[in-house]
């Protein structure tokens, strides 16, 4: 698997993070559940391109979500309405609403295609912000892998309080038995993408390496080389800047 080049920062990166980044880069370019490897790679590229898109920049400055119309700076590999979904999730997630979601699903994307797209777009946001903070170039995306999507829709995913169907912790059995951590509390953020179980598995790997394993989160003494208060201060400031209530 392709390992990112961290050398420009002149600092060693712990092995679990390196492994995680290599895995995620493979994950976003391999066949998924509903999208092919080539499509997932195109979604990843669009997620990255959104950060320099002039339409996105104008929209971010506008008072309302739809005040500015136009064409996104895009690779051209995906349909325009899918590109718009990707760019909005990447650059303006704070203004997404159920109304907006209901115009996307099912007209533009099925709920499952949407959830998988969310997974790829958001993983790229995480890796790109890591690289930016660290002081290295965005990680090179490997070539797309051939193969067909699995098309596995978990029978236990049910509509509920979120916009997308999710799997309750008590219903995660069979092929989904490994999906959630064995913990007294599994937060909604872990359930959010459970319509596409492999996205949950990727999020867990990402969260374990970049933050804390889910089982440790409720423990106030859990920490890394920075203490828990420092971690939560940084996390809270990121979320405030992203205007994220959750």
């Amino acid at each position: 698997m392709l390992v990112p080049d961290y050398s420009a920062a002149g600092i060693a990166v712990r092995q679990d993070l390196k492994d995680c980044h290599a895995l995620l880069l493979h994950h976003v370019t391999a066949p998924g559940t509903w999208w092919t490897g080539a499509e997932r790679r195109a979604i990843a590229e669009e997620s990255r391109l959104a950060t320099t898109c002039s339409l996105c920049r104008q929209r971010k400055d506008a008072l309302s979500l739809n005040a500015v119309q136009g064409k996104h700076d895009s690779t051209g590999e995906l349909p325009g309405d899918v590109v718009d979904v990707i760019h909005r999730i990447r650059t303006d997630p704070q203004r997404l609403s159920r109304d907006w979601f209901e115009r996307v699903v099912p007209e533009i994307l099925s709920d499952a295609h949407y959830v998988e797209l969310v997974g790829v777009v958001t993983m790229m946001a995480g890796m790109d912000n890591f690289a930016r903070a660290f002081g290295v170039a965005p990680f090179t995306l490997p070539a797309a892998k051939p193969g067909e999507p699995s098309r596995h829709r978990p029978a236990s995913a049910k509509p509920g309080t979120a916009w997308v169907p999710m799997i309750d912790v008590t219903d995660a059995d069979g092929p989904e038995a490994d999906m959630y951590p064995q913990a007294p509390f599994v937060p909604n953020i872990m359930r959010a993408m459970s319509l596409v179980p492999d996205q949950v598995r990727a999020l867990r790997r990402s969260s374990d390496a970049h933050y804390l394993p889910v089982q440790q989160i409720p423990d106030p003494t859990a920490r890394r080389t920075i203490d828990r208060m420092q971690m939560e201060l940084v996390a809270a400031r990121v979320s405030a800047l992203n205007e994220c209530f959750y």
Partner: protein
């Protein structure tokens, strides 16, 4: 969390103070620089933070920034509500930070 008094206002923007947390001011300034568009500020804040932290600590700060740029977008694009347990634990915190001003608060019912 552990009995330490923290200045909540730091989460909503730089106050210049450490907010009761070691290197808090520099952590906030660095986070803001990463999330912003000023490359000069980012280089400056990265260099300033690195004088205060070990390499391992710096990596953990960077990783936390990466993690929450994932989590925030997953939450906002799936419309998940705040978990009841977290709502209960964080009620005062949420009010103190005026989190209901964020549009995504609409995904969580107010009690």
């Amino acid at each position: 969390m552990n009995g330490t008094d923290v200045d909540l206002s730091a989460v909503n923007g730089s106050t210049g103070s450490d907010a009761g947390i070691e290197h808090g001011a520099r952590l906030i300034a660095f986070t803001e620089a990463v999330m912003g568009n000023d490359e000069t500020a980012l280089k400056r804040e990265r260099a300033a933070l690195r004088t205060l932290l070990t390499d391992e600590q710096f990596v953990d700060v960077v990783a936390t920034i990466g993690a929450f740029n994932v989590v925030d977008r997953v939450a906002d694009s799936t419309g998940i509500p705040l978990d009841d347990m977290m709502k209960m634990m964080g009620a005062d915190l949420g009010r103190g930070l005026n989190l209901r001003r964020f549009r995504s608060s609409a995904n969580t019912r107010e009690d």
